[in-house]
Every structure is written in structure tokens, then in C-alpha cells.
Symmetry: C2
Subunit: 189 residues, 2 copies
Amino acid sequence: MTIATPTTRNGVDTEQMYATLDLLKAQPELGQAQFRVTNRWLGGAHNRSTIKGFFAAGGEDTTRDATFEVDAGEPAILLGTDTGPNPAEHLLHALAACLTTSIVYIAAARKVELTSVESTLTGDMDLRGALGVDDEPRNGFGRIGVSFRVTGDAPEAKLREVVERARQRSAVYDMVTNGVPVALEVTTS
Amino acid sequence: MTIATPTTRNGVDTEQMYATLDLLKAQPELGQAQFRVTNRWLGGAHNRSTIKGFFAAGGEDTTRDATFEVDAGEPAILLGTDTGPNPAEHLLHALAACLTTSIVYIAAARKVELTSVESTLTGDMDLRGALGVDDEPRNGFGRIGVSFRVTGDAPEAKLREVVERARQRSAVYDMVTNGVPVALEVTTS
């Protein structure tokens, strides 16, 4: 009799995960990646990003078939027509998504079967900053609140450890809390 | 004969814009806003944010009819099935969208008619950080490159001033370059 060993936990192929980690330990240079977005203005507060190609594991990706399109907009009070979430809401989504995936992957690595991961994020902003009415308030959120509800087959302490480790490893959490150098160039023809 | 004064420039109602700015100057407390995202894990690297309600101008918004849903995922090499852009790509989109809308609004205020705004953003990351293989590389992008192409009915110098002002006022640019305090809480039942 053969007992199959399930290698998928939380929807993550853990054998592939361990193989990926081993490969990056053996060949650290394969860790270099570049992600890209192109964006086009469509009128007023409406613009759209197109997302497909990226560089990872020593070469340009050839596996992603889909071309993703993500629209942004502003609500009426911010002079738009709700053509999509506004940019600050997209940033909250990026943070929620990254923390969630980090929780799911870390739980898989630690043999925790999750049953649900839900989060609510809030960002408080004084609009006078971004609208240029006053120089005192910053442009962005002064504070972001993240509230997670995580359930699974592990004791509370272990679930909390998983979330804490996700916070320590999340790419977007790192960027949103610590900032990233941004180089901006412009052409006008 | 009546000559209509067009109040819309670049798709932005400039009369509404000036009225909004005047209101915020007169009643600074109306600048307080809160944006929100709720996110739910759907399996593996797939999660979805739902975005609708927000607080602005002294009250809870009642104008936004749409409920936006934005999906995130990971490509195969990062153990996902391409259910959406990955979280770091969503962060690049948030930055592109915010800079673009800032450019469009500032151009409208400065009487510049834009004909196109396009951007390409790149983010370079050592995946060993977020995957926990090595403590040395940071988790997020070490650097973001933003390349804008902006055309319109103004001289190059004025177009460049508009982009520079947008950089100084963009909410997401501020957050991504300077960071934001994030408070994270967890419940496990």
C-alpha cells in the first residue's frame, strides 16, 4: 500500500517551495528580480496599468500568459468618476495582499493549515496635503491600521507567530513602513 | 451672444477643483479622510480586496455606487497561479496611478492641456529577503525607477514643472519614499 504524501498545504506546493528556497541558498544570484508596470492616462482621474513581464530566476519570465489591467480613479469628492479604486486605496490593497500571501506561505512552511485569513485596512489622510492647500500635513496617510483575523488548525500562539513572521518578511510591508528610493525621469516629446 | 467658459480641462472640472480648494482653506477640518480596504484569502497566493466606503469632507461617503474588487496573485515561480498581479506590482500601480492623477490635476490647475501621460515603473528586488533565505537583502524593492512621458500644449519647461509639482504632492509617492507607521493587530477566532 502506498500512502500519498500531500505536498500542497494552504494551496501552496510545499515541495516546490522548499526546492525554491534550496535553489536560492545554493545560487544567491538567482534572487534578483524586477517587476514592472506600464500606465496610461485615460482622461481625468482615470488611468490604467498593464502588468505582464518580469525578470526572475536569472531570466525574463515566459510562464505568465495573462496580461493584467488594473484601473484607478477617484470618487466625485476628489474630482473623479469612480473609474476604479483611488491610488491610496490601491496601496492599501497591495499591503493587504502581501501580508496575506506572506501569512499563507509561512503557515504552509510551518505545517499550519489555515481556514481563513481576512483583513481590514484603514489609512487616515489630511487631504490638504496632497491637494496643496497646506504645507503642514503630509501628502500620504499619517497612519495605516491593519486588522487581521486568522484561523487555522494551530494554537493561538502559533497563529500569532505566523502573522508576526509575515510582518517581518512582507515585501510591501517593508516598503510601506521603511520607504524606497524612487528615481523619476521625464520626457516631454 | 453668450460665450461658454469651459470649466473642464484634462477631464477635470476646474471650477469644482477651485471650490474644493477654497472650502478646505476655509474649513481645514474637512480635509480629514479615511480610506479602507477589506481583503479575503481565496487559496494559495490568491486574495481579493473589496473597496467601497470611505470618510471625507466631514462624513461617510454616499456617492460611490461601485464596489471595486481587486485580485492579487503570484506567478508560477513564486508559487502562485497568476490570479492577479502580485502585491509588489500592485504597489507600483498605486505609485503610477497617483503620480499620473497628480500630474493631470496640477496641469488642469495651471491651464495646461495634456495630450498624453504614460509611465513605466520598475522595481528591483532580491527575492531572498521576502522568502526568508537571507537576512541581508531587504524584503522589498531596493529601488524603484519611474519613467514618465508627458505631452501637452505647454513648453517642455512647464511640463517638467508640472511633473515636479506632482512628485512633491503625490500621496503615494510620499508614502512609498518616506514610509508610513503601520499598526497591526490580530485576532485568531
